[in-house]
């Protein structure tokens, strides 16, 4: 059975429409206009135990709303979801003791106290046995190399160290499901890498189920076998990361290292030139024509080296996002155009 089951889940917010100007502000005291904003539009999803799934999408796409729904912080407008058989928004204590939510932008530890103190409170509220608590704490602190920082007030820790402590706090009760909302936001490259390495190791070791949202493609590439692209409140893609490139990018990038004395003259007919730094030339070639082009190049040019690669992932994803929102804009513009015709 799937550990997370989401069926036709939808959430719309009522947002107060504040208008410009004092007059409108005064009018707003009596009469308020609200607008329904659909943050999540009837999504359905299954996640199996032990999966590491990434939610990918532009800002405001509905990623965080979905995580909030699954952690029971908000009620859905319609639809159902269960996590380990629990309905999240019933917020049963049993459920709360079996999952954890970490938000990269929110601090859950006691600011003025050493992290150790927050951990002790967690031990108590999550009813963690003393021996198990000590064992888990030892493991986590040595994996994340923060043991000597346990006694230092949280406010004196760097952002990266604090994030590690947040993760420890979230994992002390050995949750079976972990929701991570932008866990590496604002961290430097090294700290990001450390957190990734830790999550990767921990997830493989424990086989827990993790749902992660992140803007950093590196996080996702390093960690997740499965990527769910959400945009405009809907699931646009669900599959492997490399699959995104296959489905949404029709091009390959061919890079040639020309032999001494060769020029790049005529290469532009195989595709759009991307970068020329003699003797290296890169160009973009439609996927279907790669083999034909290569054959022709090899017979006409002297080549030292060849590489055929996918275009950068970021580029494909950016294209996917703009493609989705572009559709919407187009349809609106279309109807406007019709309406304004004389």
């Amino acid at each position: 059975m799937s550990i997370i089951q989401i069926d036709q889940l939808a959430k719309s917010y009522r947002v107060y429409q504040k208008k410009e100007g004092l007059r409108e502000a005064l009018r707003g005291l009596w009469h308020r206009e609200y607008k329904e904003v659909d943050a999540v539009k009837k999504i359905s999803l299954r996640v199996e135990p032990g999966e590491f799934v990434a939610f990918l999408g532009p800002n405001g796409a509905g990623k965080t709303t979905t995580l909030k729904l699954l952690s029971g912080v908000i009620y859905p407008t319609s639809g159902t979801a269960t996590v380990m058989g629990y309905v999240p928004w019933e917020r049963s204590l049993d459920y709360r003791r079996r999952f954890a939510l970490v938000m990269g932008q929110k601090n859950q530890l006691w600011w003025d106290l050493p992290a150790q103190e927050s951990f002790r409170l967690h031990q108590q509220i999550y009813k963690i046995e003393a021996a198990q608590f000590q064992k888990t704490l030892d493991e986590l602190t040595s994996l994340l190399t923060v043991r000597e920082l346990l006694g230092r007030p949280v406010r004196e820790l760097s952002l990266g160290e604090r994030m590690k402590m947040e993760l420890i706090a979230a994992l002390l009760h050995r949750p079976e499901v972990l929701f991570l909302d932008e866990p590496t936001i604002g961290l430097d490259v090294i700290a990001q890498h450390n957190i990734q390495q830790f999550l990767k190791f921990y997830q493989a070791e424990r086989g827990i189920t993790i749902l992660l949202t992140s803007h950093y493609m590196k996080d996702i590439a390093a960690l997740c076998q499965r990527v769910v692209v959400i945009a405009q409140g809907q699931i646009q893609y669900d599959g492997s990361l490399s699959g995104i490139v296959d489905s949404f990018s029709g091009d390959k990038i061919i890079t040639l290292q020309l032999a001494v004395g060769q020029t790049d003259a005529g290469l532009e007919r195989f595709g759009q030139l991307e970068k020329v730094a003699m003797p290296r030339v890169s160009f973009r070639c439609p996927r279907s024509e790669v083999s034909k082009s290569l054959a022709e190049i090899l017979s006409n040019y002297q080549i030292d080296d060849i590489a055929v690669e996918d275009p950068p992932l970021e580029e494909t994803i950016a294209k996917l996002f703009t493609h989705v929102s572009g559709d919407n804009v187009d349809s609106n513009a279309g109807s406007d155009a019709v309406a304004s015709k004389p």
């Binding site: 908000i74 204590l93 859950q108 108590q124």
Partner: protein, 285 residues
């Protein structure tokens, strides 16, 4: 089954004890600021004594000590004021409402929805810790002030029963004050900013709790109105008990009312919290 129930009970106590301990050590993280802040609260005593002296001087310029204001002599007035300070040391909740509203606005409240810990229980025991830290520091200065002002207490120490009622009224006024201000803070689920609401409440509390003057000098019908309100229990009532102004049946009735108001605001806080969460979870987050 009774085993698991006692297990739950002891777990509950342990959790509260842990919250208390941690909140206490958090308080001590800023001990310098805290000590200074606590001691500064004794300064108004001097201005209050001068103020009442000036008032009694205008009543009886020849001999201010002989003047009477609704039955209060100058000594009684100072003794009353000192006792309301003790009462307020229990019932005042600086920063409680605004911190609840801030938690709601900044989303920190999510922590209490995701983790298996109740917000109000958590706040209550943190507040107990704040108070314990406060008394630890202020007991000595309080004792000193009472010693220096011992001549104002013309009636001497009250009898043990009155003393017991006084102590009970202090603890109940703490609980009442906590749940009352928690209710105000929880309104933050609907209004993002509760500071103006809190300001209105503080204004009423300042005059009608007996903090500024003994409520029984008020003329009718104000006296009757005020005596039906819960806020008189926050300052006036404990002082009045100590001074022997409330006794016998009236004392029993008032203690009962204090208990009833405390339960009322406890229940209210639970109801507002539940409904607030519904509202928050339904619309916001």
């Amino acid at each position: 089954m009774s085993d698991s129930r006692s297990q739950n009970l002891s777990d509950g106590f342990k959790t509260r004890w842990m919250i208390l301990r941690i909140a206490l050590s958090e308080r001590l993280a800023y001990r310098g600021d805290f000590v200074l802040g606590t001691l500064m609260r004794f300064l108004p005593i001097i201005t209050q004594i001068f103020l009442w002296w000036a008032i009694f001087q205008s009543i009886n310029p020849e001999d201010p000590n002989a003047g009477r204001l609704s039955g209060y002599s100058f000594q009684d007035m100072v003794a009353y004021y000192l006792l309301t300070m003790v009462g307020r040391a229990f019932s005042s909740m600086p920063g409680l409402s605004s911190s609840i509203a801030t938690k709601i606005r900044d989303g920190e409240i999510k922590k209490f929805l995701v983790q298996p810990v109740d917000l109000i229980t958590f706040l209550f025991w943190s507040r107990v810790a704040h108070k314990i830290a406060y008394y630890t520091i202020s007991t000595l200065p309080f004792a000193l002030v009472f010693f220096l002002c011992r001549s104002y207490f013309t009636l001497g120490w009250p009898d043990p029963w009155t003393m017991a009622a006084f102590v009970a009224s202090l603890f109940l006024s703490f609980t009442l004050g906590f749940y009352l201000e928690a209710c105000i803070g929880l309104v933050g689920f609907w209004m993002l900013e509760v500071s103006s609401l809190l300001f209105v409440y503080m204004l009423f509390q300042f005059f009608l709790s007996g903090h500024m003057f003994p409520l029984d000098i008020l003329p009718e019908p104000f006296l009757s109105i005020v005596s039906f309100l819960p806020i008189k229990y926050l300052a006036y009532f404990p002082a009045a008990v100590f001074l022997g102004k409330v006794h016998g049946t009236q004392l029993a009735i008032d203690m009962g009312m204090l208990l009833a108001w405390t339960i009322f605001f406890f229940v209210m806080s639970q109801v507002i919290y539940r409904r607030g969460l519904k509202h928050y979870s339904g619309y916001g987050g």
